[in-house]
């Protein structure tokens, strides 16, 4: 069928009939537009008032088409290996939306639409997905207001160095904008809103340009340091047919290899590590992939060095004897060399803030050397301050830590002789004993308030662990608000066991990011759990509907301390300093009066839910019940009324 437009015959004949009837019935008609009297013999004629039926009748769509720019874009995304697109629907990408559901989802390889209730959830789902799957999924956002909604989640992904492939609709041609909403949601440079925290963006003017930009965007997203990328796509390009003449071609993204640090620098580092008496390896995003975790273990065991895992990723097994994360201050005090690998904030590894007027206290001994190994040296922007305070580091090696580890390990191996090996063994034995002692101390501390109500956080963590310990699992929430109890007490040695942090600490991350991780875990048969703060969940509870609608198995434990607990403590600090009203700090921080019933809320959206659970003895059975639902392929939620931390 032709893609040329066809006028409806009925409307043509209608117009001709009206013209003929008017000509027969009236005398000469005045055409003057103003109210002054016409000339004698001339009668003013006003146009007929349209009937109600005519005003209500929709303007018929006059086009049909057999090809689609949106379908071509789907092919481009498939060519990049993208399997999912999360979105809340929007007019400015309806062309691509239709292509995904009627072309992408009905032919192979499938590109599947995941429906969310908020653009922030779309981006955060992609964020969590990428950390499990090691590749991006896509998300789409409506022009202007949709991108505004998603912007905080984009910032989180930027700070967390995670690849996300984002598309925003655009409505660039002013003459094609239909009504006032089209204008309200039109912006000349849409990606400009988030340019400070995206790695790359483009507004391709043609389908071929889209193809090439998509491949370039993917390449940038997947070159460490990873980051979110954005394409703004004009409506006519999505909605219209393929251009006549030369058909666009799908551009593939090349295989990319991450940048390794300079060889000479790694040799110098290897020498320093081998010679050090108390080297400490501090890792934050060092283990970018499962291979990175193995390499971290290999390096640490070769050196018998202390490892501090800062927790942005799963960098080191939690029960490994060299893991000294629980006694970080003691280890840093004794260190003579600290290697920071992909650290968010080296400054506060070296120094601890001490007071509210910017004072700090040095954590390291006066002669301790510091080396940074990080890919962030290749790429940073200036406006948002996520690069943290400038650390006083002796040597900075620009390179992806994981990619640099094989060379570093090889160089260390060449330098270790019998004498150093013996010294390392003695060091390792001391560290193993210290690790065991710290673990036992954690168990003692966890017992405090074991039978309390509200339920203690260690109790909540250990009841959950009891149900998880024999499964292949992912803990998808950042654990700061649970005081890192899982790291202190659980056993974890797989990269996917911990999803890590939000990146930008933007609240509202946990529930959707966890669901994105669960989406990725579905194919691997893993259990995904998240201890989700109540305040955090309420930023976007609609994600629970997405979990039910898309049938993504996940277990949410709502860490329901009935407050934005962190902020409660912060406001309290100020009230104490001002010596007033510390009994009023719950104003603006407590989530009570009324208490939210999270179980009822979840049930209303199709999620199996139990709660509120206030008796700790009820928690284990509740988790067991919920876990059965998750194993059957459905989401579940338990509202746990718990202590603050």
């Amino acid at each position: 069928m032709s893609d040329k437009p066809r006028l409806g015959r009925r409307r043509f004949l209608q117009g001709a009939a009206l013209g003929g009837a008017a000509a027969a019935a009236t005398p000469v008609i005045a055409q003057t537009p103003d109210a002054s009297s016409p000339a004698p013999g001339v009668v003013r004629r006003t146009p007929p008032t349209p009937s109600l039926e005519e005003t209500m009748r929709p303007v018929p769509d006059l086009y049909t088409q057999s090809s689609s720019g949106g379908d071509f874009m789907v092919d481009c995304m498939r060519g990049l290996g993208i399997e999912y697109v999360a979105a809340t629907p929007g007019d400015s990408f309806k062309g691509l939306h239709e292509s995904i559901i009627n072309y992408g989802m009905t032919s192979d390889p499938k590109l599947t639409f995941i429906t969310t209730m908020h653009e922030e959830a779309s981006v955060a789902m992609a964020h969590g997905y990428a950390k499990i799957e090691g590749k991006p999924m896509a998300c789409m956002m409506h022009a202007a207001v949709g991108l505004q909604h998603g912007s905080m989640a984009i910032y989180n992904a930027w700070c967390d160095r995670v690849p996300i492939f984002m598309i925003s609709g655009a409505n660039l041609d002013a003459t094609r904008r239909g009504d006032k909403i089209d204008w309200l949601h039109a912006v000349n440079d849409g990606p400009g809103l988030v340019r400070d925290y995206t790695k790359w963006d483009d507004t391709p003017p043609s389908l071929q340009a889209f193809s090439e930009s998509a491949a370039r965007a993917y390449k940038f997203a997947m070159t460490p340091p990873y980051g979110p990328v954005l394409l703004a796509v004009d409506k006519p390009m999505q909605e219209g047919p393929l251009p006549e003449g030369r058909k666009p071609t799908v551009t593939r993204a090349p295989r990319t290899l991450p940048p390794q640090a300079d060889d000479a620098g790694l040799r110098e580092l290897a020498k320093a590590l081998v010679q050090a008496e108390n080297p400490v390896l501090v890792a934050d995003r060092a283990a970018r992939t499962p291979k990175g975790l193995m390499l971290m273990v290999e390096l640490a065991e070769l050196l018998q060095a202390a490892v501090i895992d800062m927790g942005a990723r799963m960098n080191f097994p939690w029960r490994h004897p060299l893991n000294q994360s629980a006694r970080r201050q003691a280890v840093l005090r004794e260190a003579d060399l600290v290697l920071g690998m992909e650290l968010t904030d080296f400054y506060t590894v070296i120094n601890t803030p001490a007071g509210m007027r910017g004072q700090t206290r040095r954590n390291l001994g006066p002669n301790c050397k510091t080396v940074s190994l990080s890919s962030i040296e290749f790429y940073m922007k200036a406006n948002y301050q996520d690069y943290e305070r400038m650390a006083d580091v002796d040597l900075s090696l620009a390179g992806d830590a994981e990619a640099s580890l094989p060379t570093l390990i090889e160089q260390v191996r060449l330098l270790v002789d019998a004498g150093r090996k013996s010294a390392f063994q003695a060091r390792g034995q001391k560290l193993a004993a210290a690790h065991k002692a710290a673990f036992n101390r954690s168990r003692q501390l966890a017992a405090a308030g074991w039978d309390d109500s509200p339920i203690s956080v260690p109790r909540m963590c250990m009841e959950l662990w009891e149900q998880l310990r024999h499964e292949d699992w992912t803990l998808a929430n950042p654990t700061t608000f649970q005081s890192d109890w899982p790291q202190q007490l659980w056993t974890a040695d797989r990269h996917h066991n911990l999803l890590g942090v939000a990146g930008g600490a933007g609240q509202g991350y946990t529930a959707p990011a966890s669901l994105g991780a669960a989406l990725a875990n579905k194919r691997h048969g893993r259990i995904t759990v998240a201890m989700n703060g109540d305040g955090d969940l309420m930023f976007g509870p609609g994600i629970l509907w997405t979990a039910a609608h898309e049938k993504i198995p996940i277990l949410y434990l709502v860490h329901n301390n009935r407050a934005w607990h962190q902020e409660t403590m912060l406001v309290q600090t100020v009230a104490n300093r001002r010596e007033r009203g510390i009994d009023r700090v719950k104003i603006g921080t407590a989530i009570t009066d009324p208490n939210i019933d999270y179980a009822k809320m979840a049930q209303s959206m199709g999620v199996f839910a139990i709660g509120p659970v206030t008796n700790p003895a009820d928690l284990g059975p509740a988790i067991k019940k919920a876990m059965a639902v998750v194993k059957a392929g459905e989401p579940a939620l338990i509202d746990v009324v718990s202590q603050g931390r």
Binding site: S325, A326, R327, R328, Q329, A330, T352, A354, R441, R443, Q444, L445, A446, A447, A448, G449, W450, D451, D452, P454, S456, V457, M462, E463, W465, E466, Q482, S483, D484, W485, Q487, Q488, L489, H565, T568, M569, Q572, T573, N576, R577, E579, R580, I582, D583, V585, Q643, G644, R645
Partner: protein
Amino acid sequence: MHIRAHALLVLALALSATAAAAQAPTPVNGDATAGRRLFVDDGCANCHGTRGLGSGVAPSLVPLLPRDAFVRQLRAPLRAMPAYTAAVVSEGQVDDMIAYLRSIKPGKPAADIPLLHD
């Protein structure tokens, strides 16, 4: 994790102060019920738990420090804890809180909790 190290330091200080005192606690004339309300409403529970048995950000207050050491920590605390001056918590209210905290029985030890064993 540095917060937990702080908690351990304060706990160590508390234990050493207790060992140094090595005698029956100083009697106080406080109201435990009023003390519980203060402890929860004035925010102590946010960090120390509703029964003062600790959390990841603050140590257990049971067994309790001697009164002098307790007041020193309250008025001029180490590290992250905010200071509670006499304008915020009067001496009488300190006695109420101490009465409450002394009424709390310590929980069972880790050795008696199966979930805390491998």
